[in-house]
């Protein structure tokens, strides 16, 4: 029992070490700033300016966008970059499980998303005098959304390539697609039944809904269900990443 506790303690510390190292090494890289920091704000202003949008609705949308885009930007950038530099081999050869390594990488995206969405939240509170109706729910939504979207980004990062561009483009395309079907720009309540059914398959739908609950005080789905789906989807996205890493070991890539 003690041996297992020691192992879990070690794995936890290793995941943390990986995350802290990545924060120091990659957060200020142009690829991260472009795809992780500027992109959500760019998307927000592109689709929200000159549209009749209340301040609170704008803040809820911006929060969902920043969590979604920022969390998902790290995996497709960091892992191929590390593969190219050869540093990823050092991590794979280290005495830690693959899951530990992936959780460390997930934390990097999640921390980034939490930091950038905090900037968005601060801007909303300072410049638009927005009131947060349910701060606890907002915190849980940001946390679980960051986890879910970071593991989604990891799926693309796990594609065995040494060129970040190979996976950043398809990853961005998928995220753009999800953006338009997930009730971010068109509220769920205004969607057709078919579109709404499709929207329920996107985790972003639940992230946007939980932001609506927290900021506006209203949403279409039970907030507990929103949080549960974000948690579950985050766990599920780890599975293809693990499989792709195992496959890469077989293929030698």
């Amino acid at each position: 029992m003690n041996q297992w506790l020691e192992r879990i303690k070690n794995e936890w510390a290793q995941a943390w070490t990986v995350a802290v190292k990545d924060v120091r090494v990659y957060y200020l890289r142009p690829g991260m700033i472009m795809f992780g920091f500027l992109m959500p704000f760019f998307m927000f202003f592109s689709f929200s300016v000159k549209r009749e949008l209340g301040a609170a609705e704008g803040v809820a949308r911006l929060l969902a966008l920043t969590v979604f885009f920022t969390a998902g930007a790290t995996g497709p950038f960091i892992i191929p970059t590390e593969r190219r530099m050869g540093t990823y081999d050092r991590l794979l050869a280290a005495p830690m499980s693959l899951l530990t390594l992936l959780l460390g990488k997930t934390a990097v995206g999640a921390f980034f998303a939490i930091a950038v969405s905090s900037v968005a939240l601060l801007a909303g509170l300072l410049f638009f005098q927005t009131t947060i109706i349910q701060p606890g729910l907002l915190a849980a939504g940001i946390l679980l959304g960051a986890f879910s979207f970071s593991t989604l980004g990891l799926v693309f990062g796990s594609i065995p390539t040494t060129n970040p561009g190979d996976v950043q483009m398809p990853s961005t395309l998928l995220r753009w697609g999800l953006l338009f079907i997930s009730g971010v720009f068109i509220p769920l309540s205004e969607m057709s039944p078919v579109a709404r059914t499709i929207a329920y398959f996107s985790p972003l739908t639940y992230a946007q809904d939980v932001m609506n609950h927290a900021v506006l005080g209203r949403g279409l789905i039970n907030p507990w269900l929103d949080l549960a789906v974000l948690l579950l989807s985050g766990v599920l996205f780890l599975w293809p990443s693990i499989k792709m890493h195992q496959r890469a070991r077989v293929l030698g890539r």
């Binding site: 070690n10 510390a13 290793q14 070490t17 990986v18 190292k21 120091r24 090494v25 530099m85 050869g86 540093t87 081999d89 050092r90 991590l91 794979l92 050869a93 280290a94 005495p95 830690m96 499980s97 195992q246 070991r249 077989v250 293929l251 030698g252």
Partner: protein, 331 residues
């Protein structure tokens, strides 16, 4: 003596391409084992399988008696890996690179700084500990990369081509370090295509060619088995032609080559060739400036094996199997 590495029928296919073909060998604890082969022979593929980075298609690997597939976590704690490319983080300082690796390998907190300082001093990087490694030379990055691989004091160290592209001083300091680590008990698996490196460092070498182990033995025994690669080197006063029909037609000479201002004549019996050579010089009115008998170099052995020529190869060949003689090819 116990084995550090035991490899049985290790095989790797990349799709249908057979990169490593049912190889068998053992590495004893405490030895420096050289893994020689030309580019594309299967060296790196084998090493990646031995370090868990690649899944074998067939075969078993045991490291210190543990099965690599089922006990990889325990094995990983005992091994260190220096890959071909120096994989340091350029954005971090030398010190931070070492601290990161120490943390990943769970070196006890109280020992990390001590180990890091020792290694940086050993590698001559202590003064540069606070400098980001993006400002390091290739040799400095290489030394740091090795330091990172041994900060947890592994019992078995894998080195993949540790010295290509480095200046002579860096090469010798790395060789010295490898010898010192080995003297302190670390088993070394050295994958290289630098023949002289293997010759200088290794107690035994395996030569891999086309995915198969073509020979395993001590460098000296491998050389001794290559009688054909013995030679006589002669320098005459004045210019010597690239090819001299007179020299090549001397009895016993199998081939000749020009080496700088000297001619090297390959023969199975150098002592019989000497008087004929002197006689030849007298008949041609040539003055001999120098005359040396040379044994085969490990490079000769390597070229014979990997070039697919006939030869007597090693006493162990695939371990546990009869020695391979008169291969007629390296497959």
């Amino acid at each position: 003596m116990n084995n550090a590495i035991e490899v049985e029928n290790l095989t790797k296919y990349y799709d249908k391409f057979l990169a490593v073909d049912h190889i068998n060998f053992t590495v004893k604890q405490g030895e420096i084992f050289g893994f020689l082969g030309p580019n594309g022979a299967g060296k790196t593929t084998t090493q990646r399988m031995l370090t868990t980075l690649l899944t074998p298609s067939e075969g078993t690997i045991r490291i210190f008696g543990r099965d690599l597939r089922s006990e990889s976590w325990a094995v990983k704690r005992q091994i260190g890996l220096v890959p071909e490319e120096s994989n340091v983080y350029p954005e971090l300082t030398a010190w931070d690179n070492l601290m990161f690796t120490a943390s990943i390998y769970r070196v006890p907190h109280g020992e990390r700084a001590k180990h890091a300082q020792e290694l940086l001093e050993t590698f001559g990087l202590w003064e540069k500990r606070a400098v980001k490694t993006e400002n390091f030379s290739k040799g400095m990055r290489r030394r740091l990369s090795i330091a990172m691989a041994i900060i947890h004091k592994p019992s078995l160290l894998f080195l993949d081509e540790p010295t290509p592209g480095l200046d002579a001083q860096s090469i010798h300091s790395i060789w010295e370090l490898i010898r010192r680590m080995n003297a302190e008990g670390t088993t070394i698996f050295l994958s290289t295509h630098q023949i002289e490196e293997a010759n200088q460092l290794c107690g035994r070498v395996a030569i891999i060619s086309h995915g198969k182990i073509a020979a395993i033995d001590t460098p000296e025994r491998l050389k001794a088995n290559f009688r054909r690669a013995q030679s006589v080197e002669v320098a005459f006063e004045g210019e010597v032609a690239e090819k001299s029909p007179g020299l090549e037609s001397l009895p016993g000479v199998t081939t000749q080559s020009k080496v700088g201002d000297k001619m090297r004549l390959y023969t199975e019996d150098p002592s019989a060739l000497l008087p004929r050579l002197i006689q030849y010089a007298e008949s041609q009115s040539l003055r001999i400036v120098s005359l040396n008998m040379l044994g085969p170099s490990l490079e000769d052995v390597f070229l014979e094996i990997t070039g697919g020529q006939m030869g007597v190869v090693g006493n162990e060949s695939q371990e546990g199997k009869p020695a391979r003689r008169g291969m007629g090819g390296s497959k």
